[in-house]
């Protein structure tokens, strides 16, 4: 299980290589990569800034992995999350799950992404040529998250 919060750029393909290597015998591996969008409602995005608040951010992500492991039989889980300044198309987040079971790998990655979008302790500021604004989760994000409450 690993959680990494980093202000350095990372390569999702390289992370999948490392993760697959660490998941021998798993059978099913799902990865999610989130990238900085290049457009927003107010124009072309020039920069995205992400802020965390450690140790709360790290601890929250570890708790989310524990919850996922309580629900699904997972062999390996990894989350990498960028902080600091990013450009459009830069990877922001990488989540990977490995299991003997395909559905467990899919559902747990989906669950972790819903957590990251609505509960993970990050704040995002989006910059365009002539504006800047803090972004908060959308109603859909909370709705996606609530799928897991039953």
């Amino acid at each position: 299980m690993s959680v990494l919060i980093t202000d350095a750029a990372f390569d999702p393909a390289e992370q999948l290589r490392l993760f697959t290597h660490a998941s021998k015998g798993a059978g099913a591996i799902v990865s999610f990569t989130g990238l900085v969008r290049d457009t927003s409602s107010t124009g072309a995005v020039t920069r995205l800034h992400l802020q965390a608040y450690d140790p709360m951010t790290q601890r929250g992500m570890e708790d989310a992995i524990d919850k996922a492991r309580g629900r699904w039989p997972l062999q390996t889980v990894s989350i990498i999350h960028r902080v600091g300044d990013m450009a459009p198309d830069d990877p922001i987040v990488f989540v990977a799950t490995a299991s003997a079971h395909r559905r467990a790998a899919f559902e747990s990655a989906d669950f972790l992404m819903d957590y990251l979008k609505t509960e993970a302790i990050f704040w995002k500021k989006e910059y365009t040529e002539d504006s800047e604004r803090w972004i908060e989760p959308r109603p859909e994000d909370y709705k996606d998250k609530n799928r897991w409450n039953s």
Partner: protein
């Protein structure tokens, strides 16, 4: 001395992301603190409303709460990464 941490958009409201100060003796609870900050950093709508959660020494508190001996108090507007 107490350290106040203003996260996300609250840094724009407070004009800083962090400050150290001696809180007035009359500020004993999270409610007191919210009211005091809303006065200090006045804006058309109060910035330290109930959508902002408070962490005392890195633990989200269940409000209303006593500030106790907390040395770091953080204000967390709605979160979300990914």
């Amino acid at each position: 001395m107490t350290t106040l941490i203003y996260l996300g958009r609250l840094a724009d409201v407070a004009g800083t992301s962090e400050e150290q100060l001696d809180l007035p003796d009359t500020i004993k609870t999270t409610d007191d603190l919210r009211a005091w900050l809303n006065t200090r950093f006045s804006s058309p709508t109060p910035a330290f409303d109930q959508s902002v959660r408070i962490a005392l020494d890195s633990e989200i508190c269940v409000e209303p709460a006593s500030l106790g001996t907390a040395i770091e108090i953080a204000f967390l507007p709605p979160v979300g990464g990914g």
